[in-house]
């Protein structure tokens, strides 16, 4: 329990360190900051491209957060602010790019791959099944032997199964 608390505290401390937004201004307004956070998490920082504007410590991210704070204070909606970013940096700035001709592959590609995979799977299963049905004609006598074995009885037929050690089978 104690270690858990310690780990939690460390994680919290670390998150305070990595978040660019945290303790950036003297008197943060909690409402503005939470809107900034949710907006900033959907916007890509163009300097360090795998970080969000909310998380990045890059000077540009800092400037953009200032811009967003000002625009929130001026009463602009989240959509307005997103448009403001797209006007300047293009769709690339959005972590959720809109569906356009250039992003069709991005949006539908994974589903196409999934469908393709499912197709291959169904095809393989069906083929195996038909092969299994075709190639293994079992004589009635042999079937009896097999069923007896599966039931746990000693083999009684003329074709004895090889001796097995008890518990050897998994």
């Amino acid at each position: 329990m104690k270690t858990r608390i310690a780990i939690g505290a460390l994680a919290l401390a670390a998150s305070q360190l990595v978040h660019g937004q945290a303790s950036e201004i003297a008197k943060p307004d909690p409402l503005v900051e939470s809107r900034l956070r949710s907006l900033g998490e959907e916007l890509r920082c163009l300097v360090c491209q795998n970080q969000t504007i909310a998380d990045s410590n890059a000077p540009l991210a800092h400037d953009l957060r200032t811009q967003i704070r000002e625009q929130i204070a001026r009463g602009r909606s989240d959509g307005d602010i997103r448009d403001y970013m797209v006007e300047r940096y293009g769709d690339f700035v959005l972590y959720r790019p809109p569906l356009r001709s250039t992003t069709v592959l991005l949006w539908l590609g994974p589903f196409a791959l999934l469908l393709g995979g499912a197709g291959v799977f169904v095809y393989t299963v069906r083929r195996r099944r038909s092969v299994a049905a075709k190639e293994l004609p079992i004589s009635a006598q042999r079937r009896e032997t097999i069923e007896a074995l599966l039931d746990g009885a000693e083999p009684t037929s003329s074709a004895p199964a090889p001796a097995r050690k008890k518990g050897a089978s998994a």
Binding site: V47, P59, L60, D63, R88, Y89, G90
Partner: protein
């Protein structure tokens, strides 16, 4: 059926090679600018050398010009700087500097040291104009036509190659 077994992996492989061939040659740092073909955003800034004078892009109406974003703290600006100086010596195109998030005295000193290719430099201390122009990696250069429309954006330093192959032909075309 046998043919498909053989061909399918080959097709997939070739498809991947195609994707990689295109993808690996692209620079992920170069984000296509949505500003191309649009009017250069308006601004009014003081000039770097003359604190009392202002500059606005409207001043350049009727001319093909370049807006070059630079800063004294920007290392790769030094790489392209000799090319800009050479361009201004040959009087190819008026170049306006946008001194981005710099200190006035640092900018002035830097130009005194490395040469000043600019007609003038606008002083964007807070980087707001930079944001309006979608600047995210200094240096950046915009080619703007006579109507004030952005026709090209170079992200990162101008190279002799990009100058000869893209920028100069474009300027010639726009001036024609």
């Amino acid at each position: 059926m046998k043919a498909l077994r053989f061909a399918a992996p080959l097709v997939i492989f070739l498809l991947l090679v195609g994707f990689f061939a295109v993808g690996l040659k692209r620079d992920p740092k170069e984000v296509p600018s949505p500003l191309i073909g649009k009017a250069a955003p308006a601004f009014t800034l003081t000039q770097l050398h003359e604190e009392k004078l202002v500059f606005t892009p409207v001043d350049m109406k009727g001319k093909v010009w370049m807006l070059n974003v630079w800063a004294s703290w920007c290392v790769s600006c030094r790489v392209e700087h000799p090319l800009l100086v050479e361009m201004s010596r040959r009087k190819l195109v008026p170049i306006v500097g946008l001194n981005y998030k710099d200190r006035r005295e640092d900018g002035v000193q830097w130009l005194a040291k490395f040469g000043n290719p600019y007609t003038l430099s606008a002083f964007d201390v807070e980087g707001r104009v930079g944001i309006d122009y979608g600047v995210y990696g200094v240096p950046e250069t915009f080619v703007i036509d006579k109507m004030g429309v952005i026709r090209h954006k170079q992200i990162g330093p101008i190279t002799p190659e990009s100058l000869e192959k893209v920028i100069l032909p474009l300027i010639e075309k726009l001036n024609a």
